[in-house]
């Protein structure tokens, strides 16, 4: 069984791309292939035009990666850990020290000199981010970056991602939490069972996953709700004093005129859009979480 199957995806420069999918859907495998940890059995991955499989070193020099469940050499301090990784980029000692100092300040670990074995989950994540930014990468991959963080940590991380986006970096991050993706992404992709099922802006994905282009209109009136016979109505559910109408377009004006003509006073007339979360849960989890 393939963890990822015929996945085709492209992310534009400067995008903050949220990769959304339930646990086990293939998010980590996809990122693993993009950062050169896993060799795809078929197909190719490119980062800024560089083939990751054929030219892994060139790809690694322009990417940064924050994995889920990151670990560091426990006996070394944050600075020592980063110093070790910096050597692979051929940085001079002075340049490496300056970059490490800057990054540790950036992620809020400046002045922390204890070995990383005593780090909390949040500190480890922040150090992981510093590690991912060590080479000032053009593209940053983050696998479930806010997983297990406290609310303050989550907010800090969101701000950092927005800040990186502001600096023109391309951020590709995965999550199984829709709210997380919704908060910081400019575009999203939804993966399920190893296949991309939707890709685009939040609205585009919602519409695509919804599966139809019908507009749902909620009508509430004083007294009994009359039957509506308007062109454009596909279906309608009538209740005592209300109706939910599905139409091919937004026909609230026609509904209003028809009810006025029938001397029915309108209390509420609005378009109800299904949220991305509703669509996501229904599509990916089959509505089980509703």
């Amino acid at each position: 069984m393939n963890a990822v199957d015929a996945l085709s995806l492209d992310v534009g420069k400067g995008e903050v791309f949220g990769f959304l999918g339930p646990n086990g859907s293939g998010k980590t495998t996809t990122i693993g292939m993009l950062v050169g940890l896993i060799e795809p059995t078929a197909g190719r991955c490119f980062v800024n035009g560089v083939d990751v499989t054929r030219n892994p070193l060139a790809a690694k020099k322009i990417t940064g990666y924050l994995p889920d469940g990151i670990g560091f050499y426990p006996g070394l301090t944050a600075r020592q850990n980063l110093k070790y990784f910096s050597r692979f980029y051929g940085m001079s000692d002075a340049a490496a020290e300056a970059r490490i100092k800057e990054l540790l300040e950036y992620v809020g670990l400046g002045g922390v000199e204890k070995p990383t074995e005593g780090y909390s989950r949040g500190m480890r994540q922040r150090l992981g981010l510093a590690q991912a930014l060590l080479n000032d990468p053009e593209v940053i991959f983050m696998d479930e970056p806010t997983n297990g963080l406290d609310p303050q940590g989550v907010i800090t991380f969101r701000n950092i991602i927005k800040d990186l986006a502001g600096k023109g970096k391309t951020v590709f991050f995965s999550s199984h939490v829709l709210e997380e993706v919704h908060q910081v992404s400019t575009t999203i992709g939804v993966i399920s069972k190893g296949k991309i099922i939707a890709r685009g802006t939040t609205d585009e994905v919602r519409r695509k996953m919804q599966g139809d282009d019908l507009t749902t209109i909620v009508v509430r009136v004083n007294g009994a709700m009359p039957q509506l016979a308007l062109p454009g109505i596909v279906s309608a559910e009538y209740h005592d004093g209300s109706a939910i109408v599905k139409a091919k377009a937004d026909i609230r004006d026609q509904i209003s005129e028809e009810l006025f003509r029938q001397n029915v006073r309108v209390r509420e007339l609005r378009v109800r859009e299904r949220t991305l979360e509703e669509v996501f849960l229904e599509t990916v989890y089959g509505g089980a979480a509703q």
Binding site: P67, G69, G71, P74, G75, Y84
Partner: protein, 361 residues
């Protein structure tokens, strides 16, 4: 700096910071020094006995030939050899069993591999770092013993220096073989506990190989024939296989004008075959290889001794007073050297092949 050397220097520093490594190294160093001091005391005692015998021989009327050899300074290293075979082996295993598995467990491997370094450079660097550290450990203990010898006024001669060099090479190969086994276990295991278990299992198999080889030889060849000694036309049947250990000494009587002796061909053929079978199987055990090489080099022997039915080692091929060159000694154990080299190549080869394909996520 080349990525291999970056990894190697990190590995090297990690060992220096590891309490486990320092403890075992300290223990090995301490035991080596104690072994050297006791070895020197024993050597001096043997030398005194030898000189005393020489004086007695010179004083006796008509002279008399003594078959007591002059003690060799190589015997000072006999304790060191046994400590290497035990604590050294433990040190090599401890250096390798979590080399890769620890990085997998701690999640550092997937970080390391996303930086600009090839997988083969990582494994090569780790192996270089570990082997370099091991060579330094062995060299430091070895030179400490040499320094103690010099302090006590014992200076190795030309032949001794060559033999010491060969012995040091065997020590390095022996421990590198166990390091390779441990690294292989670390690479193929999902965690360090499993790696340790696999490494211990391989070591235990190596330890029981001599017993297995005896059983296999006995099963293949059946019961041993009786030994018949033919001396000056008289035939004497000697019961018990362990008599074999006297054969070499009896045979030396020929050079002294003693009665010509002969052993029935069937008996010698049986034990020649038996020794071939056990020798062939025993080379699969690094410890047996090291023991054989050590005995031949340090005992100035021309071949490895056969093992009697009771497990005792005998028949080391050197007659008292005979000079055996280093080359003669080494050429008799080339199979053991080759076996150690093959184990190193296979161990590191499997580690390499597995590591470059391991799924890191």
């Amino acid at each position: 700096m080349r990525p291999e050397l970056i990894v190697a220097s990190k590995e090297f520093r990690d060992y220096l910071a590891s309490k486990r490594f320092l403890l075992l190294f300290g223990l090995l160093a301490l035991l080596s020094i104690i072994g050297a001091v006791s070895g020197i005391a024993e050597y001096n005692s043997d030398l005194e006995t030898y000189n005393s015998n020489l004086q007695q021989a010179a004083a006796s009327v008509g002279g008399m030939r003594f078959f007591v050899d002059m003690p060799s300074i190589l015997q000072i290293f006999s304790s060191y050899g046994s400590y290497i075979a035990t604590f050294g082996m433990l040190l090599a295993l401890s250096m390798g069993f979590d080399m890769i598995s620890r990085e997998k467990e701690e999640g550092t491997l997937k970080i390391l591999l996303t930086h600009p370094v090839f997988r083969d450079q990582v494994i090569n660097g780790k192996i270089i770092g570990a082997v370099a550290m091991m060579v330094i450990v062995l060299l430091s203990t070895f030179l400490a013993i040499v320094a103690i010898m010099l302090f006590f006024g014992i200076v190795p001669a030309g032949d001794d220096i060559v033999r010491l060099g060969a012995f040091f090479g065997a020590v390095v190969l022996f421990l590198t073989a166990y390091l390779a086994i441990a690294v292989m276990a670390s690479t193929i295991s999902k965690n360090s506990s499993m790696a340790m278990l696999i490494a211990i299992a391989i070591v235990l198999v190596g330890m029981v190989i001599p017993n297995i080889s005896e059983t296999v030889a006995d099963t293949v060849l059946g019961p041993a024939p009786e030994m018949t000694v033919i001396s000056a036309g008289n035939t004497t049947t000697v019961g018990g296989v362990t008599q074999s250990q006297f054969i070499a000494f009896d045979a030396s009587n020929r050079t002294q004008g003693g009665p010509p002796m002969q052993i029935n061909q069937e008996y010698t053929d049986y034990y020649n075959k038996r020794n071939q079978i056990t020798g062939l199987l025993n080379i699969l055990s690094p410890s047996q290889d090291f023991t054989a090489i050590s005995e031949v080099i340090n005992g100035r022997l021309s071949s490895v001794g056969s093992i009697g039915a009771g497990g005792e080692r005998g028949m080391f091929q050197r007659i008292s007073g005979q000079t055996v060159s280093v080359w003669q000694s080494l050429s008799s154990v080339w199979m053991n050297f080759l076996a150690l080299i093959v184990m190193i190549v296979v161990g590191f080869g499997v580690s390499y092949a597995r590591f470059v394909r391991v799924d890191v996520r």
